[in-house]
Amino acid sequence: MRLSLRSRFDGRSGGRNLALLVGVLAVAPLVLAVLGLDYYTIVLTQALILGILALSGDLAWGSTGIFTLGQAVFFGIGAYAVGELAKHLGVTDVLAASVIGLGVGAFAGVLVGLFLFVGSRVGELYVGLVTLALAFAAERFATGWDVIGAYNGVPGIPGPTLGPLVLEYGPTTYYTIFALFVLVLYGAYQLNKSQFGLVMRAVRDDGERAEFLGYRRTTVQIVVFSITSALAGMAGGLYALSSGFVSPSFLGVTLSTQVLLWVVLGGRGTLVGPLLGLGLVYVLGGRIAEFQPQLWPVILGLILLGTILYLPGGLIGRRVVPLRKRVAVTTAAAPTGGGDRV
C-alpha cells in the first residue's frame, strides 16, 4: 500500500536536528537545576527511556513501513524480564538490564516476525491489526497470570546500579540513561543512513519492486522487526528499573498506540520527529495535564487529528512537494506497486 503519509527522509539530512536535540538534552538537567525544577530531571529520564521505544517504532513503521501497533508487547516483555531478575536475583545493573532487554526483545521479535512475514504476503494493515490484537492479548494474559503478579504486576523493583555504583534519582541516573539513549540514537541514525537504510525505504515505498531487484523482502522485514523489538525490550528493561515497578499495562494497547501517536505527530521516518512527538505528549503534555487533566487529552486528540488532516508528514516532516516538482509528478503519475491488501 502506498500511504499518503510520506515523509522524505533521504538518509543524509536530519543529522543536524538530532545533534541539536542531543545538545539540548545534555544541558537540560543543569538548566532545570538552576530553575529549581529538579523533579523534571526524573520525568526527562523516563522520557529518554520511552524515547528508545519511540525510535524503535519509527524504524519499523517510519523507515520500513512495518505498521506495528504492538511495540509495547516487546517493551513489556523486556520490563517483566528485567523486573523479575532485579527483584529475585538482584540484577540491577543498567548495562545488564539493557542486554537482557535487548535479548528477550529480539527473541520475541524474531518469533513474531517469522509468524507475520514468512511465506505470506500479508498487507500492512493486517500487520497492524495482528500486532494490536497481540498487545491486547498480552495485557490480558499478564493480568491473569499469577506467576508474574497478575493484576499487581511486579512492584518493589530495586533501583538501578552501574557496576558498583548505586544510581540516585536525579542527574546521575539521567546521564547514565542519556548515554545509552545517545548510543541507540546514533545507531538508529547510522542504520537509516546506511545502504541498508536505503533498502528499508525501498521495502517501505514499494516492497514488490524491491523483490524484483533481487531483495528478499521477508528477510529485510524480519531483520528490522527483530532489531526494533530488541530496542523496545531494552527500553522496557530500563523503564522497569527506573520506575521501580512493572504492570500489565506495559504490554498493552494504550502504550502501543502511544508510540503510534508520537510517530504520527512528529513525522515518520525522521527519528527526531517521533522524539519531539514524545516530548510534546509526555513531557509538555504531562505538565499541562497537571492543571488541565480533562481538557488536555481533548486538545491532544485534536492536535493529532489536525496533524493527520493537514500535516500528513508530521510536525517536522517535509510534506509539500515544491510546485516546480509537482509538474513532473503529475505527468509521470504512474501507479507504483500492487493493490492494497489486508
Partner: protein, 283 residues
C-alpha cells in the same frame, strides 16, 4: 439438562449475540466499505451515552434505544462528510484519522462525565425461570433483538435492491457513477448506517451495566478480530466471525480461567487469520 448446563448455554449464546450485535455496524463499515474504522468502538459508546441520557432526562432507557441509532447515525454522517471522505483512497490514512477521532470522542466524553462510571437502569429488570435456571430477562431480549436485526440487515443490505446498489457502488465506484448512482451520497449513507447500528448496539448492551468512556475501545479489538476472522466483502462473513468468536468466548470461562479464555480465543483467531487471510466467508 441440569440448571447449571442451561445457565452455561444461555451465557454462551448471550455473549455470542452481544458480540454479533456489536459487530453488525462494523460489518457495514469495515466489511463492506473496507474502512478500518478505529472509532467504531466510540460509536458504540455514544449509543450507550444516548441510552443513559434518555434514562436520566426522559426516564426511559428504552426510548434511548430508539433514539441512539438516529443520533449516532447522524453523527456518523457528519464525520463522514468532514473527515472520513478524504481518506477513501488511503486505508492507512483512514485508520489513523479514525484513531484520532475515537481519541477525541472518548476524551470529550471523559471530560464531560462527572463520575467514573454511570449505571444505566435495565428497562426490564428481573429474571425468568427456564428449566430450573434463573436467567436475566434483558439478556434474552438482547438475543431476540440480535436475531431480528441480523435478519433485517441481511435482507436489507445483502439481498435487497438498495443493498445491491450499495454493493455495486462499493465494488466499482466509477461504474456506479456511470450508471447514475450518486456515489458520494451512497458512501455517506452507508457509513451513517454502520455508525447507527453501532449506536443501537451500545444502547442495547448498556442497560443493567455501567457506562464509562472506555466502553467502546474495550470492545474494539474483539470486534475487529471478529470481522477479520469472518472475512471482508460481505455482511454475513463478519457476523459469522462474531458468532464463531463469541461462542468460545462465552463457553470457555466456564471451563478455564476467564482471563486466559479470551487470550486463547484471540490467539486462535490471529493464527486462523494468518493461514486463511480471506476469512471464513470470502467472495
Amino acid at each position: 439438562m441440569s440448571p447449571e448446563t442451561v445457565r452455561i448455554i444461555f451465557d454462551t449464546l448471550s455473549v455470542a449475540s452481544i458480540l454479533v450485535l456489536l459487530v453488525l455496524g462494523m460489518a457495514v463499515i469495515v466489511g463492506m466499505m473496507r474502512i478500518f474504522n478505529l472509532c467504531q468502538g466510540e460509536f458504540v459508546m455514544l449509543g450507550a451515552v444516548v441510552a443513559y441520557l434518555a434514562s436520566v432526562w426522559l426516564g426511559s432507557s428504552l426510548l434511548g434505544i430508539i433514539l441512539a441509532p438516529i443520533f449516532v447515525g447522524l453523527f456518523g454522517s457528519v464525520l463522514e462528510r468532514l473527515v472520513i471522505r478524504r481518506f477513501y483512497g488511503s486505508p492507512a490514512g483512514a485508520l489513523l484519522a479514525t484513531f484520532a477521532l475515537g481519541f477525541v470522542i472518548r476524551e470529550v466524553v471523559r471530560a464531560l462525565m462527572t463520575q467514573q462510571g454511570a449505571p444505566v437502569p435495565a428497562p426490564l429488570p428481573g429474571n425468568f425461570e427456564f428449566m430450573g435456571a434463573n436467567l436475566p430477562v434483558w439478556r434474552l431480549v438482547i438475543m431476540i433483538v440480535t436475531i431480528t436485526v441480523v435478519a433485517l440487515a441481511y435482507f436489507g443490505l445483502a439481498r435487497s435492491a438498495i443493498g445491491l446498489r450499495v454493493r455495486a457502488t462499493l465494488d466499482n465506484r466509477e461504474l456506479a457513477e456511470a450508471t447514475g448512482i450518486s456515489t458520494s451520497r451512497m458512501y455517506a449513507g452507508t457509513y451513517a448506517v454502520g455508525a447507527g447500528l453501532a449506536g443501537f448496539a451500545g444502547a442495547m448492551i448498556v442497560p443493567g451495566r455501567i457506562l464509562y468512556p472506555d466502553l467502546g475501545i474495550d470492545n474494539l479489538i474483539p470486534m475487529f478480530i471478529a470481522v477479520m476472522t469472518g472475512g471482508l466483502g460481505t455482511i454475513e462473513g463478519p457476523l459469522l466471525g462474531a458468532f464463531a468468536l463469541g461462542v468460545p468466548s462465552g463457553l470457555m470461562p466456564a471451563l478455564i480461567n476467564p482471563v486466559f479464555a479470551q487470550v486463547v480465543v484471540i490467539v486462535g483467531a490471529i493464527v486462523f487469520m494468518r493461514f486463511r487471510p480471506a476469512g471464513l466467508v470470502s467472495r
